[in-house]
C-alpha cells in the first residue's frame, strides 16, 4: 500500500506535524471545561482569558494522556519544561502560547505502518490551543475583506499534543497510512477522539523533493489539511509543484502554504523570512515536569493492545497478511477481538473474518451475535453443510435477530446438505441433457462448464454447492 512515489526521478520527503486535542475534562492550565460545541465564551476563566494576575496550573490528566500516547508511539518519556512562544494574535489571549519547546515530554519514538514501514517520531509535546476567530462581512468567512472578527475563547487553553514525525515519509500513500494509523493509536489509548472533521486532530505537512540520495531540498509547510484524503492530495500537489519549479530552474523558498480543498492547490501564506520572532523562553509561572519511573511504568502497563499488534494477531489467526484489507478494516472497526472470539468458540477464523467484515459494518465494536452462534455457522459452511450463498442468508438472519441457532435457521429455510448420490444424478442428468456442452467441456472449453453448472443449480433450486458441482464435473471428465 505504501509504494514508493517517484516522478521523473524525483523523490518526495515528507514529515508530518499532527496536533491532537486531548480527551481531558478540563483545560491544560485551568479548570474550565474542555468541551466542543458549547455556546461561545462560556468555558472561560481568568487563565483562559489571560486576565492580569491569573496563573496556570498544569492538568495531571493531560500529562498522563501525553505519556500514554508517547509510550504507545515507543517514545522515551523525559523531564520536560514549558516555554512561552510570544506572538500577537487576537485568538491568543496572553499574546503567548505556553508550549513545550526545547524539553518536550516524549522523544525518539516510532510508528509502524501496516505494511511494516517504520516512521520515526521525533517528539510529542504538550501545548495549549488557541481560541477561534470568525470573520464577519466579506465573502465566505475569509479574513480578507472582512469588516471585523469575533473571538470565542472556549477552545483557548484546551490541551494539545503535537506529534512531530521524522522526514521518513516518501509517498502520499505512506502519509495517509501514517495519519490513519496515528489516529487509530490515539483512539485506542483514549488520548483523543481524533476527529479531523471537528478539528480535534489537525495535520501540517513539511514537504520537499530531491533526487534520491541527495541532500534534503528546501521544504514548505502545508497547513489546513482537514482529512486523510486532503493530506494525500496536498502532498502530491505540492511535490509536483516543487518539481516543476526545480525543473524550470527556479528556487524553492521556505514558506508556509495553505491547502485549498476546492481548487486542489497550495497557496503561499507567508514566507519564513518575515516570520515572527517568537522569543521563546522558559515559562516562569510553571515548574519542571519530571514523571517518576513508577508513574511511567504504571501508564505503560495500563496501555491497551495497540492496532498494529491486533492486526498481527488477527492476521495470524486468519491466515492473512497484516495489511490485508479485511484485517485492516476489521481491526480499524475494533471487531478483531470478536473474530478471535468466534475462533475461540470453535469457529473458523477465516470465515468469521469475512462474515464480520461484510455483515457487521454498521455495528461497531461489539456485534450483537454471540460468538458461539457465529462459530456454529462457520463450521457448517466449512463442513459443507451449507453453501456460501446459504451461509450468507443464515448470517443475515442471525444479525437481524441478534443471534440464534444457525442450524435451526438453516433447517427452517430448508437448507440441507444435498445427498451426494442425489447431486451425482443431477450432474449426470445435466450431462445427458446437454451433450454439446459436455463435448465442449471435455475438449477443454472452460466456458462450457457454466451451462452444465447452471443446469444443476436450476435442478437443485439453488441448493447445490457450486464448488461441489464443479468438482464432480471435473471428476466425470477424467473418467471419460
Amino acid at each position: 500500500m505504501s509504494d514508493t512515489w517517484s516522478f521523473d526521478g524525483w523523490e518526495m520527503v515528507v514529515g508530518l506535524e499532527v496536533h491532537v486535542e486531548l480527551a481531558t475534562r478540563t483545560k491544560l492550565f485551568s479548570a474550565s471545561p474542555n468541551r466542543f460545541g458549547d455556546e461561545p465564551n462560556t468555558n472561560i476563566d481568568p487563565v483562559t482569558l489571560g486576565l492580569p494576575g491569573a496563573l496556570p496550573v498544569l492538568n495531571r490528566q493531560a500529562v498522563e494522556l501525553a505519556m500514554r500516547l508517547g509510550l504507545a508511539l515507543n517514545c522515551r518519556v523525559q523531564r520536560s519544561t514549558f516555554a512561552r512562544k510570544n506572538y500577537f494574535y487576537p485568538d491568543m489571549p496572553k499574546a503567548y502560547q505556553i508550549s513545550q519547546y526545547d524539553e518536550p515530554i516524549c522523544v525518539d519514538g516510532w510508528l509502524d505502518l501496516p505494511d511494516g514501514m517504520r516512521v520515526g517520531i521525533e517528539r510529542a509535546h504538550l501545548e495549549e490551543d488557541t481560541g477561534k476567530s470568525t470573520h464577519v462581512g466579506g465573502s465566505g468567512g475569509r479574513i480578507h475583506g472582512s469588516e471585523h472578527s469575533l473571538i470565542d475563547f472556549n477552545r483557548a487553553g484546551v490541551p494539545l499534543v503535537e506529534i512531530v514525525s521524522r522526514p521518513d515519509i516518501r509517498s502520499p500513500d505512506q502519509a495517509r497510512a501514517y495519519v490513519s494509523e496515528l489516529r487509530a493509536i490515539l483512539v485506542a489509548v483514549g488520548a483523543s477522539d481524533a476527529k479531523m472533521e471537528e478539528g480535534s486532530m489537525r495535520v501540517d505537512a513539511n514537504v520537499s523533493v530531491r533526487r534520491p540520495g541527495a541532500e534534503f531540498g528546501t521544504r514548505c509547510e502545508i497547513k489546513n489539511l482537514n482529512s486523510v484524503r486532503s493530506v494525500g492530495r496536498a502532498i502530491e500537489y505540492e511535490a509536483q509543484r516543487q518539481i516543476a519549479m526545480l525543473e524550470a530552474g527556479e528556487v524553492i523558498r521556505q514558506e508556509t502554504r495553505h491547502w485549498d480543498e476546492n481548487d486542489g492547490r497550495t497557496h503561499t501564506l507567508r514566507s519564513k523570512e518575515d516570520a515572527d520572532d517568537y522569543r521563546y523562553f522558559q515559562e516562569p509561572d510553571l515548574v519542571v515536569v519530571d514523571p517518576d519511573p513508577e508513574w511511567i511504568e504504571r501508564v505503560r502497563a495500563a496501555l491497551p493492545v495497540l492496532p498494529a499488534q491486533r492486526r498481527i494477531r488477527l492476521a495470524e489467526a486468519t491466515g492473512q497478511t497484516p495489511d490485508a484489507e479485511a484485517v485492516l478494516v476489521v481491526t480499524d472497526r475494533g471487531q478483531d477481538a470478536y473474530v478471535l472470539g468466534v475462533a475461540a468458540a470453535g469457529g473458523d477464523a477465516t470465515r468469521a473474518l469475512v462474515y464480520v467484515k461484510e455483515a457487521f459494518a454498521e455495528l461497531g465494536e461489539h456485534p450483537s451475535v454471540p460468538p458461539t452462534d457465529l462459530a456454529v455457522l462457520t463450521r457448517m459452511e466449512l463442513d459443507g453443510e451449507l453453501t456460501a450463498t446459504q451461509a450468507k442468508q443464515v448470517l443475515a438472519e442471525l444479525v437481524a435477530a441478534g443471534g440464534g441457532d444457525a442450524r435451526a435457521i438453516a433447517a427452517e429455510k430448508g437448507f440441507e446438505a444435498m445427498d451426494s448420490t442425489e447431486l451425482e444424478s443431477m450432474v449426470d442428468d445435466a450431462i445427458a441433457a446437454q451433450p454439446d456442452a459436455w463435448a465442449k467441456f471435455c475438449a477443454g472449453e472452460g466456458k462450457a462448464m457454466g451451462a452444465l453448472v447452471g443446469a444443476v443449480m436450476k435442478a437443485s433450486k439453488g441448493q447445490a454447492d457450486g464448488k461441489a458441482v464443479t468438482a464432480l464435473l471435473q471428476q466425470r471428465r477424467q473418467e471419460v
Binding site: 481531558t24 475534562r25 478540563t26 479548570a31 474550565s32 471545561p33 455556546e39 461561545p40 465564551n41 462560556t42 468555558n43 472561560i44 476563566d45 481568568p46 482569558l49 496550573v57 498544569l58 492538568n59 495531571r60 490528566q61 493531560a62 500529562v63 500577537f88 494574535y89 487576537p90 476567530s133 470568525t134 470573520h135 479574513i143 480578507h144 472582512s146 469588516e147 471585523h148 472578527s149 469575533l150 473571538i151 470565542d152 475563547f153 501564506l269 507567508r270 515572527d276 520572532d277 522569543r279 523562553f281 522558559q282 516562569p284 510553571l286 515548574v287 519542571v288 515536569v289 519530571d290 514523571p291
Partner: protein
C-alpha cells in the same frame, strides 16, 4: 553615543512589541538602550562556561492539579467589561497582517 544598538534594531523591537515610536522617541530610545547595554557589558568578562541557567528561584517540580471542572466566569459580566463585544464574542477590527 553607544554603538551597541542601532535605531533600526530599536525600530524592529518596537514593532515586535507593538509599540510605535516617533522619530524623536526612536532616537531617544536608541540612546537610552545603548547606555543600558553599555552598563550591562560588565557581565561580558565573566567566564560562565558550564554554568547552568537559573530560570526559577526554587527547584520545585511536578506541580499538577486534578482534572476537575470548576465554575467559569460569567460571560455577560466579562463581555460587558470588554472593549467591544458582539453575539457572545469579543469583537476586533479586521485581522490584517497577522494571518497565521
Amino acid at each position: 553615543m553607544s554603538d551597541r544598538i542601532t535605531p533600526e534594531a530599536v525600530a524592529k523591537v518596537a514593532k515586535l512589541a507593538r509599540l510605535s515610536l516617533t522619530d524623536d522617541e526612536l532616537q531617544q530610545a536608541t540612546h537610552q538602550l545603548g547606555d543600558m547595554l553599555d552598563h550591562f557589558a560588565d557581565i561580558d568578562a565573566l567566564d560562565l562556561a558550564g554554568v547552568e541557567p537559573m530560570t526559577h528561584p526554587t527547584p520545585i517540580a511536578n506541580v499538577m492539579r486534578e482534572d476537575i471542572e470548576m465554575d467559569c466566569l460569567d460571560r455577560d459580566e466579562v463581555l460587558a467589561a470588554a472593549p467591544a463585544a458582539e453575539d457572545g464574542r469579543f469583537r476586533v477590527p479586521p485581522i490584517i497582517g497577522l494571518e497565521d
